[in-house]
């Protein structure tokens, strides 16, 4: 079923592409750019402002892990001048899509230059860094064999990511790097408006820094014995590392893997042992499992965290900054009391 659909998508994409003349960017016309998912899209929108025409492939409340590209998406990619992606194998489907759509613009990897966290939390930090440097020497999109070699390191069965946790945007420090990469990418594709992009970047970074001091205060105030958080899937590694929290998840890193009874049992045992009082649900996942775990352990549902996607316009996390603020407030309310 899946392969048929992707064949169809590619076929349509080829037809679409052959009918479409790649647009050339003019200074007075917004340049067409594509961002892979809503959080990245929000950042690109902020920095690009009125100079770009943005298409976001996976919209609010969408799950990027399991996204299946449509011909419409292929068309957007084919027409785009710049394609913004998260990298770290978050968008496993993007390479095929870009190829099918004969994308020949600039590809900007937003996580370029961050220090990625490996899947195994207990690994020596220095080693992680070295491994990362090694990766950087290769093209970001062509090192699948490399990743496969490392796959044996991780113990999370069934997920389709590489060696590193891709959810890097959960750290505000990384968001600054995202902003730098986005501004640089846009400036390169559209030099006429470069100064506007850098001004927008500076404004955005100021907002990030301001938010960071708020979040720092909230997280710093959490008592030492209330720093373990249970979520459906492991999406908060960077947030956890930044604030010395421990996140536990039955589903592992990707929303695609199926849980085993052993995982659920281990989590329940831990919740009982550490008397964890609240578990959290996520906007993009099936929350029946968390509700059952809460039921069984007597923990309360502390609230909804936004991990991989923004909420809709009316939701509490419609922009990146709102999302981080909402998550921090939710955690602080549920754990601090």
């Amino acid at each position: 079923m899946t392969s048929l659909r992707s064949v169809f998508a590619s076929a349509t994409a080829i037809v679409t592409f052959s009918l479409t003349v790649p647009t050339v960017s003019w200074a007075e016309q917004p340049i067409p750019v594509v961002a892979t998912f809503s959080i990245l899209g929000d950042m690109v929108e902020r920095i690009g402002g009125e100079h770009i025409a943005l298409t976001t492939l996976v919209g609010p409340d969408g799950d990027t892990h399991v996204y299946q590209p449509t011909p419409k998406a292929a068309r957007s990619v084919a027409e785009a001048d710049v394609l913004f992606m998260n990298g770290l194998e978050f968008e496993g489907w993007l390479e095929r899509l870009a190829e099918a759509a004969s994308f020949n613009g600039a590809m900007v990897v937003a996580t370029n230059g961050i220090v990625p966290i490996a899947f195994e939390e207990h690994e020596d930090e220095h080693e992680e860094h070295d491994e990362h440097e090694e990766h950087e020497e290769h093209d970001d999109h062509d090192d699948h064999e490399e990743h496969d070699e490392h796959e044996e390191h991780d113990e999370h069965a069934g997920h389709d990511h590489g060696t590193f946790d891709p959810h890097a945007w959960q750290s505000l420090d990384n968001a600054v790097i995202y902003a730098n990469n986005i501004a640089a990418g846009l400036a390169q594709a559209d030099p006429a408006n470069a100064s506007a992009y850098y001004i927008n970047r500076a404004v955005f970074v100021d907002q990030i820094v301001a938010l960071k001091s708020d979040v720092d205060a909230m997280m710093g105030a959490l008592p030492a014995d209330k720093r373990t958080v249970v979520t459906p899937h492991d999406a908060f590694g960077y947030f956890a590392a930044a604030y010395d929290l421990t996140f536990e998840a039955p589903q592992g890193m990707s929303t695609e893997s199926e849980v085993s009874a052993a995982d659920v049992a281990a989590l329940i045992t831990q919740i009982r042992r550490d008397s964890i009082s609240a578990v959290f649900i996520e906007s993009i996942t099936d929350n029946r499992m968390m509700e059952q775990i809460a039921n069984e352990t007597g923990a309360t549902i502390g609230g909804t965290l936004y991990s991989d996607a923004l909420s809709g316009e009316t939701g509490p996390a419609s922009t990146y900054l709102d999302m981080i603020r909402h998550n921090a407030t939710t955690l602080s309310d549920a754990l601090g009391s």
């Binding site: 079923m1 659909r5 996976v58 919209g59 409340d61 969408g62 799950d63 892990h65 399991v66 996204y67 299946q68 449509t70 069965a157 069934g158 929303t255 695609e256 893997s257 199926e258 849980v259 085993s260 009874a261 052993a262 995982d263 659920v264 049992a265 329940i268 993009i284 996942t285 099936d286 929350n287 029946r288 499992m289 509700e291 059952q292 775990i293 039921n295 069984e296």
Partner: protein, 289 residues
């Protein structure tokens, strides 16, 4: 030792007890239906029906979110439409029922994929539709148990005509006008058990727990009652062992259960006393002079 291996997981964890109860309900409800499917040479109908259910469940989800009721009703309606439509076509045209069922379930499946794909951006629908046995809440359990009870009751009422139809469908058709009613009620049971099963195990797994134990039972018993008892026993044992494997060896529970049933089928194939590979090829004593 045995306590730690077998009893402790269920004693310590409520979700394991729920999973086991859900599996037993599915075993009791679905396996007799599976036995009749096999006897009536309709083993693959279960698989076709599982696919036919998909668009209904998907529409139910899109209309009212992750609601057990809406997805159940949607699945039942979609399955019944396909069953009735294919039965109707088979009775009024010259097309045979298996061909018209194939046609209708493929149409239904295509519709389901279309619905899932056009709205698939929001959340992975397939993943939502495929339940997991480890996250059964009270409503899901009540639903599973009610479906199992209803299924057993209806099957008890239908038992004689169904057996007749297995043995000689032409005869039943000639002596009773109820042959059509029997057939459609039976298909309704198939749909109902599959809808129940997909809440517990996911659609494809639901077909597995329906058919595999029945196929294994073929090698252990000859009477229909014996077949049903053996099938239900195989299904329950598979559920128990599958869950324990999932608990001790960190395996996803749905596939673990079905694979254990598959191993049960393989062993029955070889060692089963009724037509198994060994029994078939051993020289029989009663032919000795």
């Amino acid at each position: 030792m045995i306590w730690d291996l077998v009893v402790a997981p269920f004693a310590d964890f409520g979700f394991m007890r729920r999973a086991l109860l859900g599996c037993i309900a599915v075993s009791v409800g679905a396996t007799p239906v599976g036995v009749f499917l096999i006897l009536r040479h309709m083993s693959l109908t279960g698989d076709a029906m599982a696919h036919a259910i998909l668009p209904g469940a998907a529409i139910g989800y899109l209309v009212s979110g992750l609601s057990l009721g809406a997805m159940t009703v949607g699945g039942l309606i979609a399955g019944m439409i396909v069953a009735l439509a294919s039965g109707f076509v088979a009775r009024v045209t010259s097309l045979r029922e298996d061909a018209s069922l194939a046609a209708f379930y493929l149409i239904s499946l295509a519709l389901g994929v279309l619905i899932v794909s056009t709205h698939g951006n929001n959340i992975d629908l397939m993943h939502v539709l495929f339940g997991t046995v480890l996250a059964l809440d009270n409503t899901a359990l009540i639903l599973l148990c009610s479906f199992a009870s209803l299924s057993v009751l209806v099957l008890a009422v239908l038992f004689r005509p169904l057996v007749l139809e297995c043995a000689d469908p032409q005869f039943l058709r000639s002596v009773s006008k109820l042959s059509g009613v029997t057939h459609f009620t039976f298909l309704a049971l198939v749909v109902m058990n599959l809808v129940g099963g997909f809440h517990a195990l996911g659609t494809l797994m639901a077909v597995g727990i329906m058919i595999l134990p029945g196929a294994a039972a073929r090698f252990w018993a000859e009477s229909i009652g014996g077949l049903i008892a053996a099938a239900a026993l195989v299904a329950m044992l598979s559920s128990l062992i599958g869950l324990l494997l999932s608990f001790h060896y960190s395996l996803p529970s749905g596939p673990a259960i079905i694979l254990v049933a598959g191993v049960g089928y393989g062993l029955s194939l070889i060692f089963g006393p009724v037509g198994g590979a060994i029994a078939q090829n051993l020289p029989r004593r009663n032919f000795e002079t």
